[in-house]
Subunit: 155 residues, 2 copies
DNA sequence: TCAAATAAGATGTTATTGCAACTATTATTT
DNA sequence: AAATAATAGTTGCAATAACATCTTATTTGA
């Protein structure tokens, strides 16, 4: 009874947070290794893929879509631009916006990045059925929504 | 057909990686805010809790248990020691090992950290039943195991 | 119309994290 | 027993990411 601070295993390890962070860190390492040949880091590929999906797009829109801070977005885009994968163009209608496009080089690298991400995805979801995977995504989506809501409440 | 690089929404957004990283980043923010009063950052609390669970423990054991690089562990422990929550003691049987103990201050803060983590956990798993949560943990566990195996293969 | 407010981005700083390379200590091999 | 291996931990460096603050451009309101 005097050991009120002693913890059960449940309390320490069995919460999604621990798994999420371990998975995140390990995936970062895997993805970095996969994309190293293209000089694309784990902090940039999401932006490259999002631009490939919707072109042109602004940094603001990217930040909101990916739920990433706008300063992080700015720096990631700067790297992608420095590598020659992305091109910036001021929006003629509103000069505050930078419209982002893939360059020729960017269009060439996107399928390779997509394949690399596919490899990582299939490695990591081995042993999980399609039904289970859908379920996993659904639950992760709920967790993420809870977190985003939390953020709105703070504003 | 010339647009072989154009992506479907599935390909870009519907993979666990995106959710994992977004959840990870947002949880880091939430936890940092919750633990700010105790001068404990999002990079330290896991170690504090793991030491509370098993005392004494070495940095090596912490790194393996938490799947975190030993240099990260070293730095986190250094911070916890600087804040006065953790005490280091060379293992008399093998001076390479540092045995880690909670200090009095550490024992006092652990329940508060636990409560804070509990708050974060219940906020983020809102709308998820116990059965679904168990399922989520199970699936995350599989993903993490796949990633750890990947690591072993590289050795 | 012109000042104030708002919006998009950029920059500087800080925290978390991992790799490479290093020190110190213990174990192994010859 | 001395030389070599292996192990635990530390340090320096670089990448990711967020917050605070600043700049520039647009919109709003008086």
């Amino acid at each position: 009874m005097s050991e009120h601070w002693r913890l059960t295993d449940k309390g320490v390890t069995d919460s999604h947070g621990q798994y999420i962070s371990a998975i995140y860190r390990h995936m970062q390492i895997l993805i970095s290794a996969e994309l190293a040949p293209y000089q694309i880091g784990s902090g940039q590929y999401i932006f490259l893929m999002a631009i490939a999906f919707q072109q042109p797009i602004t940094q603001k829109a990217l930040s909101e879509k990916l739920l990433i801070d706008k300063t992080t977005t700015a720096k990631a885009i700067a790297k992608l631009e420095a590598e020659g994968y992305v091109r910036r163009e001021a929006d003629p209608a509103d000069n505050r916006y930078q419209l982002l496009y893939l360059t020729e080089s960017g269009r060439e690298v996107v399928p390779k990045v997509q394949e690399a991400l596919g490899r990582v995805k299939s490695k990591t979801r081995k042993g999980i059925t399609d039904e289970e995977y859908d379920l996993l995504l659904g639950l992760l989506k709920i967790v993420l929504r809870n977190l985003s809501k939390q953020e709105e409440m703070l504003e």
